[in-house]
């Protein structure tokens, strides 16, 4: 199982050399096509829940939903390892309360948009998602769920 995740990561890294390359400048930003996974940036950057590999993909999907609903910045982890903070998604600038980003948590996407960098942080205005591969990072095979309480223990069936 672990080898499959590594294979996916390697494929992503290789394709990212092309997919993450900037193209034409747009205003102060730069027009780009980015491929990567939609992530919860707090858990990824802070290490609060575990190692970076454990806080992406399926193992962390529920927590990513919680954090997006809680207004923690959603990011795209590009295939070259760059974290882009998403400021707008296909015309929606309500990134904390609208359902838009909830529906793509943990998905692997390819998006066209505009990239800004300010004081060391990368920001992304997603203009169009050109491909959504769904969730392909099966991290639960290595890490179960992170945090462990993300999936509540089922209540016993009173009829059994």
């Amino acid at each position: 199982m672990r080898s499959r995740i590594k294979a996916i990561a390697l494929a992503c890294t290789i394709s990212g050399v092309v997919a993450g390359a900037p193209a034409i400048a747009s205003g102060d930003g730069e027009r780009v096509r980015i491929s990567g996974e939609v992530i919860d940036t707090w858990c990824y950057l802070s290490g609060v829940m575990g190692s970076p590999d454990a806080v992406v993909g399926t193992s962390h999907h529920t927590c990513a939903l919680w954090c997006a609903a809680g207004g923690i910045p959603v990011g795209v982890l590009a295939e070259d390892g760059t974290v882009y903070m998403v400021l707008k998604w296909e015309g929606t600038d309500d990134v904390t309360r609208a359902d838009t980003l909830m529906t793509v948590q943990s998905d692997h996407v390819t998006a066209d948009g505009v990239h800004h960098v300010r004081d060391g942080i990368n920001y992304l205005i997603v203009e169009q998602v050109v491909a959504n591969d769904g969730i392909i990072n099966l991290s639960h095979e290595d890490f179960d769920v992170v945090p462990p309480f993300a999936i509540p223990k089922p209540k016993p069936d009173p009829n059994q």
Binding site: A69, G70, G71, M85, M102, I151, K153
Partner: protein, 192 residues
Amino acid sequence: MKPMLAAAALVVLASPAFAAGEFAQGSEATSWGLLGEEKARFEAVVVDVLCELTGDCPADCGGGGRYLGLRRAADGALVLANKNLQAVFTGAVEELLPYCGKTVEVDGLLVGEPEMTPAKVYQVQRLREPGGEWHKADHWTKAWDESHPELAGVEGRWYRKDPRVMGEIEADGYLGLGLATDAEFIDYLFEE
């Protein structure tokens, strides 16, 4: 397989000694043992990040829908406010929005390692208007409770009953792979 133990061990090993950063003077921030953590207390203007970058500037910083930042007085740097003081899953927008366009003094943690982010993001733990009283940056759950009065009697923390979260889980499961995969995994996870 005990992957969580391995993951936890990695975090412990990776956690650096608490670093004294450039803005640590006078900080009373609490350490969380996070990656690249530095105490940081500074004055800043609360800004709408999208506005700062593009000039698209609604009067109210987006009214809570946009991520907010702190344009630091000392060096003009735009610091992304990522997290509030509450334990888990809650961001900083709710805490900073009342101060949109105003100067505040914040105290908290700059977080992140250079291998993962060229600049650290910020966890605001407390804030005040200059010279005013400090207050904790812990209003998110109260605001959630006020906006979901119909769920006041439902048992559980907000994230166990938030309609948006529950809608996603009911549709695609806890792993996001669909309910059938979820059912198999839950059987494995809780097998006696």
